[in-house]
Symmetry: C2
Subunit: 375 residues, 2 copies
Amino acid sequence: MFKLVTQDCAARRGELELPHGTVQTPVFMPCGTYGTVKGMTPVDIAEVGTQMLLGNTFHLMLRPGDERIRRFGGLHRFMGWDGPILTDSGGFQVFSLGELRKLDEQGVVFHSPVNGDRVTLTPESSIGVQRNLGSDVVMVLDECTAHPATHDQAADSMRLSARWAARCRAAFDTPAAEPVNPGAKLFGIVQGGMYDDLRQDSLARLLEIGFDGYAIGGLSVGESKAEMQAVMAGLLPDMPVDQPRYLMGVGTPQDLVFGVGLGVDMFDCVMPTRNGRNGYAFTSTGIVKVRNARHRDADEPLDAQCDCYTCENFSRGYLHHLDKCGEMLGAMLVTRHNLHYYHSLMARLRASIETGTFRTLVESLHNDWNLHESV
Amino acid sequence: MFKLVTQDCAARRGELELPHGTVQTPVFMPCGTYGTVKGMTPVDIAEVGTQMLLGNTFHLMLRPGDERIRRFGGLHRFMGWDGPILTDSGGFQVFSLGELRKLDEQGVVFHSPVNGDRVTLTPESSIGVQRNLGSDVVMVLDECTAHPATHDQAADSMRLSARWAARCRAAFDTPAAEPVNPGAKLFGIVQGGMYDDLRQDSLARLLEIGFDGYAIGGLSVGESKAEMQAVMAGLLPDMPVDQPRYLMGVGTPQDLVFGVGLGVDMFDCVMPTRNGRNGYAFTSTGIVKVRNARHRDADEPLDAQCDCYTCENFSRGYLHHLDKCGEMLGAMLVTRHNLHYYHSLMARLRASIETGTFRTLVESLHNDWNLHESV
């Protein structure tokens, strides 16, 4: 399923074989929350270089409902995306509800933010939902440990996640009558807060259960960049070499480069899409805030070095105008550029690992980033 | 500039030569209000079969401003659309402001709905703005006669529009220093409310001034369908044969077929785009309201006979879901379908005129429409 093609120091160049296609890693997965990457058609999504998407179990189980998506033949067919899809477990979004949810050993109960209905999510039901969606990579239900947390709190939370992971494994291994996506894979998620020993303990418990891949969860939850990097640096060297490693919900282009350098294979983040809708563009010369009045008369593209549809056809001045008028096309065009930027960065990282020039590329990227300021 | 290729009874098949290309008529022009057809990239706009766009002078002079667009090289370059563009005069939108505007012989003064600034629009300034935009077809500033209006009110209004039309002609004929779009054409607009004699009088005054084309204004302002059709039927036979005829702001597919039958060459309307954003689709089996709960589980396309991107890739159930979630992609996909539907209808009408089967096509369209109901 996962083939490690080559390595450059700790950075890994791999191939992830999934029912809907083979993914070249390291890879960035855009978020297709409600069965759509906001403002992008599937043709656009592929055109910017997307290999694999993330779908949100929490959102889709509430609207339009996973049973309904199953009747449509699964999420791929429903949304018209034929490439691989990874679904999260729904856990992260449920925990984001804060006081609105109630957790015990069995699972978590919450009130639907859509219609107020009482909804239960358990390890077993999360797997059931993700199988109805027909995702290629199914994630275990975990508790996203609060931050900050004491060692005891983080340990209790991690142990609960480990017990849930075992139940997810059992549920996933129970044969389904008419599987939407036979050949789907199941990933475990390492928790343990900011504590190295707990992260190691979590990893050991997951390895004992055995998964097709291992994710790092519970980061980008309010910790400092140094804390995040310390957790990654402590954990990644001990993760299995022959299986894919997925850093969940992270992050900036700088975070992606850092992660790849430590051996991460998969990333997802709302940043390129959400920021794109707000007129916040990632470019080779730093952040461009389209809304900034300085771009009103600018006849240059977002990024002169970019060959995406947006940069080849439109000026910053036009994008500024669309943003001012609240025109959909503004959100569409900056989203498109940002995803192209993320995917191009990943393609450059992959190429550099192949040629053994990863460190050189990272240095040159950092030199560039240090020169830049937001405009 | 206008070549009448062939006629089938009163229906006309023509070619309109403009600086940015030759347009096959009869033609429908989508509305690109703020320099964007909402939710469509220029590639999408062309892909659905658009030959020519309409831009709104009123909107663009306020945001981002016509001087600014001129500095960007004109509206074509600013918005990345290389085909012909017609701009209205701004008059219709100003008159829609109601009490917020003040009109006299000189022109009209209003407060900008964007920032409250006092703005003046005169025949001369409207031409100036449209020349800054660089449109291929410039429209005269007219007063859109209120409805209902007495004969006296409609006559006064029509005569004012005629005097303004003469001033527009003079302004347009004054050579510009560095024209954005040399070779642009100027169209007059027939007014006169619902009164045949005034419509004839208006047309005579415009013919005496002389224009490159003649539009019918002041319809779709609250009159009945019968009143609208009576005005068209009374006026069109007397309009010049060798010049293009443009019915402004109309309408439904049925209205387009009726207009073509009387010899109209050009149409614009917000209906396919605005209705599309609201999940209201024009199809070969009638109106489909995407929001309707009956479509929630529907695994069929909007229109089984349609070969647009939306119908070839997505179910009504998916579009219903996108609409429920307020997802941009829903508005994008239904807009795309609706424009494809309008342009395909025009293409069928053009083909039928060429083969002398216009009446047969109209009968079969009406038979279909009579069978259908909204779902």
